[in-house]
């Protein structure tokens, strides 16, 4: 369609229809194999949906994009209160959670489970 320029939505649908008819019914709806925008991934209930880059799962629903090992970055989440429901937050519930170990990746066994309240 070089001479006529579609302007409104209906014109675009007419052009698509014309193109589809030209290619014959079969090819009309060939869906190329290429990466279409991924559908919203499914997260089991209970997963935090904050992705920077994510706690239980990354934004693609998997673990490839997670901070690994989690102990390497854990203190950054702790003092940033980034996942208040998942990681003890330094402001409120666990001010001295890191007292027993300065480098989490080395002495992660000393980190304890926090029961708020």
């Amino acid at each position: 369609m070089t001479h006529l320029k579609p302007i409104n939505q209906k014109a675009n649908r007419v052009v698509d229809h014309v193109k589809a008819e030209a290619e014959g019914p079969v090819k009309a709806d060939v869906v190329a194999l290429q990466q279409t925008t991924p559908q919203q991934p499914h997260f089991p209930l209970g997963c935090s949906l904050v992705f920077s880059p994510g706690w239980e799962a990354d934004s693609t629903g998997g673990t490839a994009g997670l901070c690994q090992p989690v102990e390497r970055d854990i203190f950054d989440c702790h003092i940033g209160c980034f996942w208040p429901a998942q990681v003890p937050d330094q402001l409120n519930h666990a001010p001295d959670w890191t007292a027993k170990c300065a480098s989490a990746q080395k002495d992660w066994r000393k980190l304890d489970l926090v029961f708020p309240g």
């Binding site: 209930l45 209970g46 799962a57 940033g80 980034f82 208040p84 429901a85 309240g117």
Partner: protein, 587 residues
């Protein structure tokens, strides 16, 4: 554009049409003078509550304590609040006083049955696919950190909703920004200026609405879940301790293990108000193992059963019970669960039993056409001693050939199914009692489905507890239209499948399957140990995501045929470092 118009038309002119070049918008809306504070609020009369909470929550002349009288919630939410008072507001309160306060507030400021029913999955710690349909923005905002179950278990006045959100922003200042998205400009500078501009345009959503995300959620919640409701008005009047003492028939289902049937006795406990005790036994229909257990429970708000197994032979109180007592007092439905993440659970229905017979269900879920002598065990209570084959009715084309054995709670029969028997669910009736859709007659197994489709396990065992995930394979038939995943598909119940793991290749050099953990022949996945793994590249944890594949060979199919397969996605992830479990409710 004439400046005067912009002045008179106030903010809307700017906010509505983002096209308008950067004009001096009007100052942000200050705190709006709240509407004539509707004079609603539930007076608190219980002396324990007045004593425990009165020092900060002062009561007005009508006995309404600030904050407390303007909120209604489930027992679990009340416990969360009281635990925050202790951890963050430096309140000292003895455990038994706290339990009394939770009980009293759940009764005087609880939810009505109709309001509580959609929230039960939260208290039952059930992993369901819940999406709050009332307002997408509110869902996206609240669901970032915790399940919407906690939000829909609240009823508050407008000021109380505002107070709740201020609490969030006061204790967790980070959530204004990237981690919570409470404010639009949060991390990147308000109004889309400053910092890097790509972060959210600040000019509202084009409908003249320049409120921040949390303000919009706050307004929605205030109108969708107000304090007063006709349901609560009628229930708070009708509420009383339910009469539950007596015999109850148990019918339940545990994923991976199949149906359970049994019986228990509920008795009233004199030592605690609205307290009950149960004592009974149930058997796993597919294996015959039987479990006897006792439990103690308290009923909140007249219909919320919260219990905990107690001094049973093999169970020192690790199983908890959350159930909903139907208004008729004839049926109690809920979930018994255990495990550090409450992941192992039985969906339980208790039905009151008088003298006459009750059929609660069958051990097999489906019967194949053109088969004879299929053994079916029918469970129930007060089943008649002498039964003739004709007394047991499975409907057209399904005939009881022989009565194998009869006891008061199990009747074993052998059944012949005609080749032309109609396909579909069938009711079983015996001695005047009918169990609807007890079995499904099918002609061919077309495939199997693995449940849950999105499983989650958490590493543990070193510093933190493990979270296991139980899988189950269920056979299905495509039903009359012959096409899978359509409304007329028939679920044929649990089958014993051969289980295996397969790499979910999210990346090209994915090696999760070697580290995540084991899946046993019963479909139970046990994750690996937590902590950095020195012999994995980059000292990574043993996390990963894998396929869980079930393969099943239907009985009587020719040996050369390939097994029918089904699979599900399993996310094996890091542990939770905080445990928000409700420990006081039901004590």
């Amino acid at each position: 554009m004439r400046a005067r118009i912009a002045g008179i038309a106030g903010g809307i002119a700017i906010a509505v049409l983002p096209l308008v070049a950067a004009q001096p918008p009007q100052p942000p809306q200050g705190r709006r003078p709240n509407a004539a504070a509707a004079d609603e609020g539930i007076p608190i009369t219980d002396p324990d509550v007045r004593l425990a909470c009165g020092s900060c929550h002062v009561a007005d002349d009508k006995g309404r304590m600030t904050r407390i009288s303007y909120r209604r919630a489930t027992p679990e939410n009340w416990e969360l609040t009281i635990r925050r008072m202790i951890s963050l507001n430096h309140v000292t309160i003895a455990p038994e006083v706290a339990r009394k306060v939770i009980k009293s507030l759940s009764d005087s400021n609880g939810l009505a049955p109709e309001e509580a029913r959609p929230t039960m999955f939260e208290a039952e710690r059930r992993l369901v696919d819940y999406t709050y349909a009332g307002d997408k923005d509110t869902h996206d905002l609240c669901n970032k950190c915790h399940s919407m179950g906690r939000v829909i278990s609240e009823r508050r006045t407008k000021e109380e909703w505002a107070g709740l959100l201020s609490m969030h922003r006061y204790f967790y200042p980070g959530i204004d920004g990237a981690s919570g998205g409470f404010r639009r400009g949060g991390g990147g500078g308000g109004g889309g200026r400053g910092g890097n501009a790509a972060q959210g345009r600040g000019a509202g959503d084009g409908r003249g609405d320049n409120r921040q995300p949390y303000e919009r959620a706050q307004d929605h919640l205030a109108s969708a879940f107000p304090l007063m409701s006709p349901e609560w008005a009628s229930w708070s009047a009708a509420m009383r301790t339910p009469k539950l003492a007596g015999r109850w028939a148990i019918a339940g289902y545990q994923r991976g293990k199949g149906p359970i049937f049994g019986e228990l006795q509920i008795t009233e406990r004199s030592d605690t108000p609205d307290g009950f005790a149960t004592d009974g036994k149930f058997t796993y229909a597919r294996t015959g193992d039987s479990v006897s257990r006792k439990s103690r429970a308290i009923v909140y708000t007249g219909f919320q059963w919260r219990g905990r197994s107690a001094d049973g032979a093999d169970d020192p109180g690790t199983w908890r019970e959350v159930a909903f007592i139907e208004r008729s007092g004839q049926e109690i439905k809920g979930r018994w669960f255990t495990g550090p993440y409450d992941e192992t659970g039985i969906d339980v229905t208790l039905r009151r039993v008088s003298a006459d017979a009750v059929v609660t269900g069958t051990d097999v879920a489906s019967l194949k056409t053109a088969s004879s002598g299929q053994r079916v065990r029918i469970f129930g209570a007060n089943l008649p001693a002498r039964v003739a084959p004709a007394d047991v009715d499975f409907g057209q084309g399904v005939k009881v050939a022989r009565i194998a054995s009869t006891t008061p709670d199990v009747l074993t029969v052998e059944v012949d199914v005609a080749s032309d028997a109609r396909i579909g669910p069938r009711d079983v009736s015996l001695a005047g009692s009918t169990k609807s859709a007890a079995v499904v007659v099918y002609s061919k197994i077309d495939g199997i489905k693995v449940e849950p489709q999105a499983g989650m396990a958490r590493l543990g065992g070193a510093a933190f507890p493990k979270r296991v995930e139980q899988f189950e394979a269920r056979a299905f038939s495509n039903g009359p239209d012959g096409k899978p995943n359509t409304a007329d598909d028939l679920d044929l119940g649990i089958v014993n499948a051969f289980w295996s793991l397969e790499e979910y290749t999210a990346t090209f050099h994915d090696d999760d399957i070697r580290f995540v953990g084991q899946l046993n022949e019963a479909g139970l996945f046990t994750p690996n140990i937590d902590g950095p793994n020195p012999n994995r590249s980059g000292n990574r944890n043993n996390v990963g995501d894998v396929w869980v594949v079930g393969a099943y060979v239907p009985p009587g199919s020719d040996p050369s045929a390939k097994p029918i397969r089904g699979r599900a996605h399993l996310l094996v992830t890091v542990p939770l470092y905080m445990d928000w479990d409700y420990r006081e409710v039901g004590r």
